[in-house]
């Protein structure tokens, strides 16, 4: 199959965006992506939207977005894969390009999570797991990751300090990212002293709901070379896998098999190994999730994710800089936008545009976007020639 290139990227600031509708947020990202690539909207043949519908009052979001972007009657559709909806949209767009159906496609990841009342959010929160066998006991999203954390601690000796070290790192880099929701350093002591959410996870182990949007524009090789010239970043390895919805059918409670499967596909397609990844954005919805991701992606051995972050191996200058844009933890996590925003960040890293948080000389990067507790996983390897 032909190569797919990214020719334009844009991301809104993440955070509480009470000033804008979801289609207005999408437009911000779209305008930035067009400007970034010097692209005229006329050449964009289709739009794929990644978003989770139940957070919005507006039903059937792709319709209002395509209208507000003034792109009718060109095709538009939605992809949903929980917190990985944005990466699902990107994959769908790339497949459409590789199939020859379209030459240039826009991917919009967007989410407005602060539209709902607290009671509505608590209602949604109660249905994240398997509603037949688990939700009747009051399970929550932090609760599931907390049960992974507990098991990881039991099997490998991972400590609460090591969990908190992920939050300290990601807040450190969030300070350097003008698009991040939280731009303040935190100390290990502050993270450890925060209120318990679901033991052993505390407030600072959890990312925050946010509003935001991101857009990338992808093109087939010929169009990308014509339009993007030497700034193109290529999606050279795309991996995708799934796993059970229910924790009751997970044999492994210390990692996500879907990450390992998706990573193996992406590495093989790109002709790289984990050692060749110079910068990565991984799915740190909870601190334990980043620790498991570093292991499952092969940045460190199984069980070594805690010592890995404690030894600053995931800082710039370490073996594998991870989430040096602040991660979900400090950037905020507007779920549909997240996978697309990760892609924007890695593209910017590979173009050398990241200023104080730039990983020097990076030409190969990775995005890792998880839906739910690993029901969906997308891993992409990106390269700048």
């Amino acid at each position: 199959m032909g190569r797919v290139g990214i020719i334009g990227c844009g991301q809104t600031a993440f955070g509480r965006r009470s000033d804008a509708t979801v289609q207005e947020l999408a437009f911000e990202a779209w305008r930035l992506a067009l400007a970034d690539g010097g692209i005229e909207p006329e050449i964009v043949e289709a739009t794929v939207v990644g978003s989770v519908p139940e957070y919005h009052k507006q039903r059937s979001l792709p319709g209002v977005i395509q209208e507000y972007l003034d792109l009718n009657p060109r095709p538009v559709w939605l992809t949903e894969a929980a917190c990985a909806s944005g990466s699902a949209a990107l994959r769908t767009a790339c497949l459409a390009v590789q199939a020859g159906a379209h030459h240039v496609v826009a991917v919009i990841g967007c989410q407005k999570m602060t539209e709902l009342e607290t009671a509505e959010i608590l209602g949604l929160m109660g249905r994240v797991g398997d509603v037949q066998w688990e939700s009747g006991f009051g399970t929550t999203f932090p609760g599931y990751y907390a049960m992974f954390a507990r098991r990881h601690m039991h099997e490998f000796g991972t400590t609460a300090d090591q969990l908190a070290a992920v939050a300290v790192k990601n807040h450190h880099y969030g300070v350097l990212n003008p698009k991040a929701m939280f731009r303040k350093e935190i100390t290990l002591a502050k993270a450890r002293a925060s209120e318990e959410v679901s033991s052993p996870l505390c407030v600072y182990d959890c990312c925050a709901n946010a509003d935001g949007a991101a857009c990338v524009i992808v093109a087939d090789e010929r169009a990308a070379r014509a339009l993007g010239r030497d700034r193109v970043v290529w999606l050279d390895g795309m991996g995708c896998s799934s796993d059970s919805m229910s924790i009751l059918r997970r044999h492994d409670l210390t990692g996500l098999p879907a990450t390992r499967a998706a990573a193996a596909q992406a590495y093989a397609a790109a002709g790289v190994t984990a050692n060749g990844i110079q910068v990565a954005d991984v799915h740190d919805c909870f601190t334990i999730a980043e620790i498991m991701a570093c292991e499952d992606l092969g940045f460190c051995d199984r069980g070594e994710g805690g010592p890995f972050v404690e030894a600053r191996q995931s800082y710039i200058g370490g073996a594998h800089p991870v989430n040096v844009d602040g991660g979900l933890k400090a950037k905020g996590h507007p779920i549909g936008a997240t996978g697309v925003a990760m892609t924007c960040e890695i593209v910017a890293q590979l173009r050398g545009e990241c200023g104080a948080r730039q990983v020097p000389g990076a030409t190969v990067g990775l995005t890792h976007n998880v839906g739910g507790i690993g029901q969906y996983c997308f891993v992409n390897v990106l390269r700048r020639d």
Binding site: G138, M147, H154, L248, L253
Partner: protein, 146 residues
């Protein structure tokens, strides 16, 4: 009758609704495929191996080991009055897994992955409608004894 199962029930209609009636009568049931004999917990109407839709309930002893657990302080809708509460995942001796609240016979401070637990069928008390669930208890705990 599956609406009997759970403090909050999002899923009243299922082909394995009889599970809740058995639980009300004190029996924990998985499923056994009538065609190939495959057993499953939680029970399922459709065999994942041979795809037969003919199954029977099979009683489980409820003994198992604690696979993981957490104490939930931030609760979803319907559970606000119960926080904090502790849930655990159990690897059942007969295979399969179950998620439930930790009951009064388990000492929360000394809970440990790998410890033996007993799944005990329960009726919610002081509740007008029939509501059933199960809790994780110390080995040897019977339904009548707590």
């Amino acid at each position: 009758m599956f609406e009997w199962f759970g403090l909050v029930n999002y899923c009243p209609h299922t082909k394995v609704a009889g599970f809740a009636r058995h639980l009300k009568e004190g029996r924990l049931m998985g499923s056994r495929c009538d065609a190939c004999g495959r057993t499953c917990f939680p029970p399922r109407a459709d065999c994942p191996v041979c795809r037969s839709d003919s199954f029977s309930f099979a009683e489980y002893g409820g003994g198992g080991t604690l696979a993981t657990f957490t104490r939930i302080a931030a609760a979803p809708a319907g559970f606000e009055a119960r926080v904090p509460f502790t849930i655990g995942v159990v690897d059942l001796d007969e295979g399969g897994r179950l998620l439930a609240w930790c009951g009064r016979t388990l000492d929360e401070a000394s809970l440990a992955i790998g410890q033996r637990v007993q799944v005990v069928p329960r009726l919610f008390e002081e509740c007008e409608a029939i509501k059933v669930h199960y809790t994780l208890e110390a080995p040897g705990t019977s339904r009548a004894g707590t």
